[in-house]
Symmetry: C2
Subunit: 246 residues, 2 copies
């Protein structure tokens, strides 16, 4: 167990990006990561190809939002994963990805070439350990979301989504607890509906309802203010400390 220490190779944008990949790597290991690292930015709507002849990579999200989508032949779609800043994209040691990965907003990735990354994994056991941890977190998030999709009402679904995003933002910006949370919603109504298993009309109606009831405040279509997180969480039907991606 190597204690956390600030490193010269910490990501210049945010200080935590490489640490998001492995918080236990020492400077030497991080500098190896550094060597195989590059950045890419994708405009909103663009598909992110994680494989391809000499452009295979895994990545962590630096800014923006990407989403994993599954589609049925008749066009019904379900977003099965929202990747927010610090989330990890790609599966080292696995061949094809079975989902569409697409930028939902403009998204910047901190990428690592797959081959050398996988080689690094072999010689760095705690990197695999860390990947297992990340995957278990994703599994928890997916299962929590199964409860949302299977058993929650439209209003609860919206509140669940908003509280996840609000909490992430609050953490990122270190908003003190029980202060109002302010953020830009990184999803269109349509994307929200695909994540929640609803139609966009229902999403719009429930957003209006939450606004009317003072649970959220809207400035324009996208900017949201949550005056009281407790109330929003209660609307989501979660117990106090719940929350998929927290």
């Amino acid at each position: 167990m190597v204690a956390y220490k600030k490193s010269s190779v910490a990501c210049s944008e945010c200080q935590i990006r490489n640490r998001a990949v492995c918080s236990q790597c020492d400077d030497d290991e991080l500098s190896k990561l550094e060597k195989i690292k590059f950045y890419r930015t994708y405009p909103a709507g663009q598909t992110i190809a994680l494989t391809g002849q000499d452009m295979d990579f895994v990545a962590s999200v630096v800014t923006g939002v990407a989403s994993l989508t599954q589609t049925m032949e008749d066009g019904r779609t379900q977003i099965v994963g929202l990747m927010l800043p610090s989330d990890f994209l790609g599966r080292p040691g696995r061949q094809g990805v079975m989902y569409d990965v697409a930028a939902t907003t403009e998204v910047t990735l901190c990428c690592f070439h797959r081959k050398p990354f996988e080689e690094l994994m072999v010689t760095t056991p705690h990197l695999i350990q860390r990947l297992l941890e990340i995957t278990l977190d994703e599994l928890d998030a997916a299962r929590e979301w199964m409860l949302v999709l299977g058993r929650k009402t439209a209003r609860e679904k919206i509140a669940s989504l908003l509280s996840i995003i609000a909490r992430r933002y609050a953490k990122l910006h270190k908003t003190p607890p029980n202060k109002a949370v302010d953020f830009d919603l990184p999803l269109t109504r349509d994307a929200m509906s695909d994540y929640l298993g609803l139609t966009l009309e229902t999403v719009s109606r429930q957003m209006s309802a939450l606004k009317k009831d003072g649970i959220i405040e809207l400035e324009g279509k996208r900017h949201i203010r949550v005056p009281d997180m407790e109330r929003l969480i209660a609307e989501a039907g979660d117990d106090a400390d719940g929350g998929v991606l927290s």
Copy 2:
């Protein structure tokens, strides 16, 4: 990469159980697993406690079915994971499990004491690798199920569940493809409804409808025969090779 070879320590019940935990372990490693192994059987309905002072363990399912359940305060429940034979229960290296784990039918587990199992993981890198693989499979299953919960109709949901179980049974009993598949449904209508995000009445109605349409045949309440898997899979709205737990 160690080639598969039959080992004296392969599970006496089914030849594959330890292999289900790690197919790459050599005889020496398997015999270490052997030393920390024991079996437990739980009657239907009983909670399976994976932690507890000196009874911490991880396990793989040998026979029967266990389920992971999430519950809201008001009692709404969602089964977030069905553990069929050869599935792995418990999370090495992680503290609490956040779901209820319960036997759905009588279930026999092949258990490994947690502490020594985790120690073995440290000295056996491909065990972690294997656990990562297992976890990624579970993640795929969970995400496939998100599509089922979010976007499929009641009839498609039922067909999806039946085709998963039928495929598992077909594999286990090596039923040749495009032969009829025969199996005992290991779930009550109530458990089915909790897995599918429906009510048990809807489950019952749709089962009757599928029967009337000749997609499935029922003998008694629980024994099911699928004369044509292709048709069942088509009803599930999946493309040919889909299927969560395959």
